[in-house]
């Protein structure tokens, strides 16, 4: 492209990147619509006010952690436990950041703050192709902005819609819509199950979760997760050590 045209069309180029980012996120947004609505619906019965539910979507903006917080609130867990659980559940975002950071390290600090706030599973999935597989990433941060604005707007909107629906149909909570969270998580866990360490992590985590069901403040969730993670990591290291000599023989 000619330099003159590039200068002239800088603004429209940014706009196109934003639009492309939003478009790339649409399939993931469609998946997020029911969760936003169900989160809003379940908030009241779980003991979170309508304002609290909306504020959580506006400020925290982390779907699975918000769902889990509702479950913990309903079970009467203490605030520090919910915050600690949120931390453990969201630790996975560090992995996303580690993947993207070489491509965005040169950007101004305010851009990186903004991008960090919008680093959801969905936006990472949508932007990782743009950042990691394409060469010209000079304006790719506008693509990122488009993706997260679309995701964010949808999440807040669906939360509001869910709150309204929950107030219109108060008996919706008896329908068992909480199953939507379980089924979503099942769909998220299964694709991980491709190696023995992953199977080990998941089986141990599930068994310990049942064994620790009586622990106060739902602490069993964290105990189970930590046991599962250590099992997975130990198996991974063990299997690597076993297979290492074979590689040197070849």
């Amino acid at each position: 492209m000619n330099c003159n045209v590039m200068n002239q069309d800088n603004a429209s180029l940014k706009r196109r990147e934003m639009l492309d980012g939003a478009k790339a996120t649409v399939p993931l947004i469609i998946g997020a619509i029911p969760f936003g609505i169900i989160f809003g619906t379940l908030a009241g019965p779980s003991g979170l006010s309508a304002l609290g539910a909306l504020a959580m979507s506006v400020f925290v903006f982390a779907g699975s952690a918000q769902f889990i917080a509702l479950g913990l609130l309903a079970a009467g867990a203490a605030t520090p436990v919910i915050i600690a659980t949120t931390f453990v559940v969201n630790l996975r975002h560090i992995l996303y950041a580690a993947n993207l950071v070489p491509k965005i390290a040169h950007l101004p600090h305010r851009w990186r703050v903004m991008m960090a706030f919008g680093l959801t599973d969905e936006t990472f999935a949508a932007v990782s192709n743009r950042f990691l597989l394409q060469d010209n990433t000079e304006h790719a941060h506008w693509f990122y902005l488009g993706s997260w604005l679309a995701m964010y707007g949808n999440w807040v909107l669906c939360t509001g819609l869910g709150i309204a629906l929950g107030e219109l149909f108060p008996d919706m909570t008896d329908w068992g819509l909480d199953f939507a969270m379980s089924v979503t998580f099942i769909g998220m866990v299964v694709p991980y199950l491709k190696s023995k360490p992953m199977w080990g992590a998941v089986i141990v985590s599930g068994v310990i979760a049942m064994a620790t069901i009586g622990m106060p403040h739902k602490l069993g969730l964290m105990v189970a997760a930590l046991c599962g993670i250590s099992t997975g990591l130990s198996l991974h290291l063990l299997l690597k050590r076993q297979s290492a000599p074979e590689i040197t023989h070849e």
Partner: protein, 106 residues
């Protein structure tokens, strides 16, 4: 008040996790074992949530074949193994659950 505290705390931990690497902009590298360990976080955490939610949907252990949470959960897992697609799993699992709950009145 306690709600505001809860939301503030959740915001702080969530944003910190997302921000820490962007903030230092690649000046820190994780050891391999830590990155590997982190890769087990999502499945371990999610499983620790799913299993009790499906086996004790009403707060008590419910292992019989008339527990729609358990039946639809197993069905959703099978669909997920078969199609490996999140949206398909959710739709199929929810349809199965609704059918059991309202079709068969379980």
């Amino acid at each position: 008040m306690s709600e505001a505290l809860l939301i503030l705390g959740m915001f702080l931990v969530t944003f910190s996790v997302r921000y820490v690497l962007f903030g230092v902009a690649g000046k820190v590298r994780f050891p391999l074992w830590l990155t590997t360990g982190l890769s087990f976080v999502p499945p371990a955490v999610l499983t620790a949530i799913i299993v009790p939610a499906v086996l004790l949907p009403r707060g008590e252990l419910w292992l019989q074949s008339d527990n729609p949470w358990l039946l639809a959960g197993v069905f959703a897992a099978l669909v997920s193994f078969w199609r490996r697609d999140l949206l398909t799993t959710i739709v199929a699992g929810m349809l199965c659950f609704m059918l059991l709950r309202f079709g068969f009145g379980l």
